[in-house]
Symmetry: C2
Subunit: 162 residues, 2 copies
Amino acid sequence: MAEKSSSFNFKKNDKNDPDLAKELESFRAFLKSRGHRITRERESIAEAVLLNRGHFDVDELFLHLKGREGVSKASIYRTIPILIESGLLAAVYLENGHMHYERVYGREHHSHLRCTACGRIFEFSVPQLPVLEQEIAEQEGFKSEGHKFEIWGLCSKCRDDE
Amino acid sequence: MAEKSSSFNFKKNDKNDPDLAKELESFRAFLKSRGHRITRERESIAEAVLLNRGHFDVDELFLHLKGREGVSKASIYRTIPILIESGLLAAVYLENGHMHYERVYGREHHSHLRCTACGRIFEFSVPQLPVLEQEIAEQEGFKSEGHKFEIWGLCSKCRDDE
DNA sequence: GTATCTGCAAACCCTTTGCAATAAG
DNA sequence: CTTATTGCAAAGGGTTTGCAGATAC
């Protein structure tokens, strides 16, 4: 419940990152391919998402973009589904009553540990999970599209504070 | 988005189930232990939850209880956290924008397969998951309290309909 | 009798949407 | 020019809350 604006963590001055440029370019291509227009707002949002590390919600994104050339929440809400379709963003439902998102890095998959006391999120990955996903899906006749694994409990810090 | 009232599935005339009586009794004990009062509303809600199979949301619970001696949504919302604390109920966040719940049966753990086309939920269990949960938590210094594993994709039926 | 609990309705919060103005192609 | 997109503000939908009356103990 603590940090509101600080939870939007940027890579430091990485605006010239060649990777960023490439990803933005492919986002533009995606927009075109869907018949969507390339607007300043969509680019701002995509850039913010691409430069972000960690999880964030709409409010944090909104506050982050607030500067001189802000973007309305309506536009953020309207752009998020596009970003998700484009594969740049994923919704991660972190049980706090509303949606949280995170950037998708390539195909690498990770899961979350959530501290029930302080709310912080930690990440980990288990290589077996995608395999397990496939196995179970197959067993049940599913064509699987994804999975989510989350663990909650007390983080090492909050554990001590008790 | 189909069945609204039908998704609340009861065990057939199981109101005399000795297990039910026992569980209700332990819920009453729980209420007392917390200094809460035993009210008709709380008993109705607990009974409905105990007799239910599968997942449901507040609206379904509300509609189910609607009969002669209904319970207001406010009371349902106020009782749910108590039921969760008592260990009878668990929140299962099934990505439909709002909360869904299910009864907790003993300590047995199961996970969900969700069809992204028809929305139906299937269950499965993987004995290794609780072990994995412990291992990962330990690695990260967590004292784990629970986990959730969910897979989504196309169920066998929707797969054919494509 | 007193404090808790209930139902109602209003308040809240996140998200979506209608609409007129703006900007992309 | 034409049509998609934007921002605003209002509407939505689930959940929470203040309050007066009802009820458990």
